[in-house]
């Protein structure tokens, strides 16, 4: 479904992503791991169009998407969450999801209808399935950090993506929130057969939900494979797990 | 051909030099605006009002001292200092508490100060036109390359570079200037290393106001000093600063030159629409370089 081929992207002289390769098949849950500064977020930003690659190819369903604008890439079926919570903080939980639904249905240029109550059924269903239904009228800036992250996933989900990208979905969460979040990601994958690409620092979580893992070090791909293969790979142990794992 | 000979006739050429000398004043005023915008991040609409105050102060000082060279020199010193003092009060009283506000709020706050200062000037100096006559020594014209150029315009042409060098020295060679530049880039970092940014900002604001006052004092003998002179100037100064690159003093110099030159040339080429040309130049520059000619401190 997604194929990243020897992509290079540099900031000034620094090559943040240097020849990364990645393959995500339909229905897979793939994790990207690597030490801080390995270029994971930059890679995600390249895939979703927030950055343009210097060279290399990014193919989604066989079509080149490298260098397209974020909103165009979203329309092609990739939505995402960000590492730092990125929601409409001054709008309510309901409105957050509602805008995403309206955007997907291409109704954002509609100046004649009343927005109130539009797409309510779907929004409420989504909020129920992520467990935010009872907070639907809360201004989202007032939510707990964990709830905000979940809301962002709900917003990304409402674009009905084929590929969902999650940049550290559990960063900064309390343990029980992390637990809920993992259950949510599992559920999404089971219920909707969603393809998920995510990056995460919590190795327990990675090996828990990912089917395959890609290891990134200094902007390049070290290894791609099943959890077992990656765990056994000595190069990974040296570079990333400090040889102790 | 006739058109060209008209363009290069001695009369129009000296007219051109006179126009150029006026850009000196644009430069002085807009460099002050640029400093305040670049380092303090305040889009100071009241800058034009301070310029107007400078002109009225110069008028009063000259009348108080009864004219002559001494009075004129005194005006050039006292008027900018008076405006700087006003700036000091404004900075300590208001802006020093408000640096973190949104630009829109600061813009409107300075606009409200502009309204207040405008009316205060009306109360103090009244609504009539005022004018200042040059001291006798400065009346008359010099011959430059066979062209007549009024002495005062010659003085202005010389003052411009002097101010530019002075600003360069302050910004690049003094500790204050270096801290100010660093603070423009990263305010928190500078205060984190224990430097009292507050006073650096006060100094910058006061310097900017001084330049506004100086511009006002210098324009005094060349124009009718009147209410409303702030309005026409502030928009030009803003455009110059935008064109040059927000907060870049050299941008202000370059911007003033472009603005002044296109205006002088424009008036030569098409007298009726001459005033339109500098605006056209600003738009042309910004369409291709939306962040201005030189790098901005933002």
């Amino acid at each position: 479904m997604l194929r990243v081929e020897s992509v290079v992207m540099s900031f000034g002289g620094f090559k943040a992503v240097n020849g990364a390769n990645l393959h995500v098949g339909a229905g897979e849950i793939v994790a990207v791991i690597g030490p801080n500064g390995a270029g994971k977020t930059t890679l995600f930003n390249l895939i979703t169009g927030h950055l343009a690659p210097d060279s290399g190819r990014i193919l989604f369903k066989g079509r080149e998407i490298g260098g397209l604008s974020p909103h165009v890439i979203c329309r092609k079926g990739i939505t995402r969450s960000f590492q730092v919570v990125n929601i409409f903080s001054q709008l309510t939980v309901f409105e957050n999801v509602q805008i995403a639904v309206l955007s997907r249905e291409r109704k954002t240029y509609d100046i004649f209808s009343k927005v109130e109550g539009m797409a309510a059924e779907e929004v409420e269903r989504t909020l129920r399935s992520v467990g935010l239904h009872d907070k639907r009228n809360v201004e989202s800036v007032l939510l707990s950090h964990g709830d905000q992250k979940v809301l962002e996933i709900a917003v990304a989900l409402s674009g009905k993506p084929e590929l969902l990208i999650l940049d550290e979905p559990t960063a900064g969460m309390a343990p029980e929130e992390t637990e809920t979040c993992i259950r949510l990601i599992r559920k999404l994958s089971d219920e909707f057969g969603l393809t998920i690409l995510f990056c995460e620092h919590d190795m327990g979580l990675v090996f828990d939900i990912a089917q395959r893992v890609m290891v990134m070090v200094r902007g390049g791909t070290v290894v791609q494979g099943s959890c077992e293969e990656v765990r056994r790979n000595t190069e990974v142990q040296d570079a990333y797990l400090g040889g102790s794992a | 051909m006739e058109f060209l000979s008209h363009l290069f006739s001695s009369g129009t050429l000296s007219q051109f030099l006179v126009g150029l000398s006026r850009t000196t004043i644009l430069f002085i005023v807009s460099s002050g605006l640029s400093l305040i915008l670049g380092i303090l991040r305040i889009p100071n609409v009241a800058h034009g009002s301070l310029y107007m105050v400078g002109a009225f102060l110069a008028y009063s000082v000259i009348h108080l001292f009864g004219g002559g060279v001494a009075a004129f020199v005194a005006a050039l010193v006292i008027a900018p200092l008076g405006v700087a003092a006003l700036g000091f009060v404004l900075e300590r009283g208001f802006f020093s508490h408000l640096y973190e506000r949104e630009h829109l709020m600061l813009l409107l706050l300075t606009f409200s100060f502009a309204l207040i200062i405008g009316d205060l000037v009306k109360i103090v100096w009244g609504t009539e036109y005022r004018s200042v006559t040059l001291p006798v020594v400065l009346q008359g014209s010099a011959e430059i390359l066979g062209l007549p150029l009024p002495y005062y315009n010659l003085v202005l042409l010389l003052v411009g570079p002097v101010i530019a060098v002075f600003l360069w020295l302050v910004i690049n060679r003094t500790k204050m200037g270096k801290i100010a530049r660093a603070a423009a880039v990263d305010r928190e970092m500078v205060s984190a290393v224990g430097i009292n940014v507050g006073w650096v900002f006060a100094f910058t604001f006061v310097l900017g106001c001084f330049l506004a006052g100086l511009g006002g004092a210098l324009i005094a003998p060349m124009t009718n000093i009147s209410l409303g002179m702030d309005h026409s100037l502030i928009i030009e100064a803003f455009l110059i600063v935008i064109m040059g690159g927000l907060g870049n003093v050299w941008g202000a110099l370059l911007g003033s030159l472009v603005f002044g030159l296109t205006q002088s040339l424009g008036i030569l080429v098409w007298p009726k629409f001459g005033i339109v040309f500098p605006y056209l130049a600003v738009v042309a520059v910004l369409v291709f370089r939306p962040r201005g000619l030189l790098s901005s401190t933002w």
Binding site: T79, L102, Y109, D110, I111 | H103, L104, I116, V276
Partner: protein
Amino acid sequence: MKHRSLVATLAVLGLLCALPPFLPRFYVYIASIVLLTGLLATSLNLAIGYGGLYQFHHTVFYGVGAYGTALMLTRAGAPAPVAMIAGPLAAALLSLVMGVICVRLSKLYFGMLQISLGSLVWVTVYRWYSFTGGDDGIHGVPLPDLIASAKGSYYYTLAVTALSLLAMRRIAGSPFGKTLQGIRDNPVRSEAIGVDVKRHKLAALVIAGFFGGVAGSLFVVVDTSAFPDMMFWTYSLEVLIMCLLGGMYTFWGPFVGSSTLVLLRVFVSVYTQYWGLILGTILSLVIIFLPDGMLGFFARRFRKGEVRGA
């Protein structure tokens, strides 16, 4: 709740309709100015309050709307209905052109570029004596009898303002309006859910410019004139103040703010010539003593307030 707001609207409209017979001619004129200035401020708010666009030179569209209508009536001798729509369309077109140039920038740079473009329009109108009348402007614009009298122009202004406000309120409460609020709140998130941020901003600018132009064409009806000061930069700042004082994040705030300022100015001018001093003092006190800025203050209002329920 629905019923109450409908009743309130009808009551206000009824009151405004009944006003002219009881007012001296001059105050009927002032009432018209209040209405069209309210329309102008509300149109600006669509861009700056809802869209978060730093529309620093909105009165250019007001001026172009007025000149469009006035020139059609005087130079082209066009029928009044054509002239009335030509002004706003010219303003919308200008807004589109300026928007295309400005929209790639954000915040202060957007505002600054808009000031530059707007000033170019202003200075052209100001100097083009043979076409626009230069700094004298255009006076004594001929109007059809129906709207030529003070009362006639008042009722016309009232009708057009009411319809325009209704339309803008509809837009503000539409999916487009909600998307615009989303863009103001978080453009990155908007893009990531597939919203073409630039095109939505552009659309908002054109709508705001159009209604600004409507206000301008109304001014021609009320004052039978158009002049360059209408589109001078400082007037744009004054309209911004109206929005700020009334509350930018509410739909009716700018209308309330502008009415207050226009009326205050009329009454204060009777007693003193120092209107600027009074306005400046009020404004600076408001900005300084509401520590969040009015924006934050009204943001909180707004959440519980009418736009939310719209």
